[in-house]
Amino acid sequence: MNTLFYLAAAVAILATLLVITRAHAVHALLYLIVSLLAAALAFFLLGAPFAAALEVIVYAGAIMVLFVFVVMMLNLGTHSVRGERQWLRPAAWVGPGLLAAVLLAELVYVLGGWSAPATTPAAIGPREVGLALFGPYVLAVELASVMLLAGLVGAYHLARPQKEAEGEA
């Protein structure tokens, strides 16, 4: 089982690496889905089946599809891929890479390095999550719903056709 977790972790990291290096948006999206599925497996292994399910349904399902739609609507041709290649010169990776390395080193140091006592996490099913969600966290649910409503309204407002109000912004 432990091997499975480390395997999933390796897949997730590898897929993510591929996501950030692709020039074609659709390729990147597909790798991201792989990465998310790996993460979902990790969730399951950590005793969070509900979260794993949501990861697959919402993240890999809904959100990524949204991305796909948008990429389709933008109708990015080969010229955008060529532009993408131009932007992705090796020099562009040096700075962010170094920065990330420094941060990673710090985090590793903070988290106490590689060797630490192993523990077995307790499994927490959908029932407990549901009870907590509509018990003490009901306010957070309300907040999330308001946020989603705002997202809905905002997305609608931004994306509606507005020929007449071209100069507004």
Partner: protein, 102 residues
């Protein structure tokens, strides 16, 4: 059920998060920047789940749910903005959007 050190889960989250950071910092295409953000959000959610598993409490998963909802809202608004912006600029280059330069 696995038996691994708690920190390993968190290290995975950190690694994913930093890959997201690299994506945001490196890519000029706004779609890829959004993807980077998604990666980071997902990593944060992973960290919450790991922490929740460590203490055997549902709170971690609840925070993951909140992050999820936020990611959904963010993506919907963000992508709408991308569409609108692309209509105006005919480009996805985020560096062209620098009108706020001081």
């Amino acid at each position: 059920m696995v038996t691994i050190p708690f920190s390993h889960g968190l290290l995975l989250a950190a690694a994913l998060f930093l890959l997201g950071v690299i994506c945001v910092l490196t890519r000029r295409n706004i779609i890829f920047m959004l993807l980077g953000l998604e990666i980071m959000l997902n990593a944060a959610g992973l960290a919450f789940v790991v922490a929740g598993a460590r203490w055997g409490q549902p709170d971690g998963q609840i925070m993951f749910l909140i992050v999820l909802a936020m990611a959904a809202a963010e993506v919907s608004v963000g992508l709408a903005l991308v569409l609108e912006w692309y209509h105006r600029m005919h480009s996805l280059d985020v560096d062209q959007a620098s009108r706020l330069r001081g």
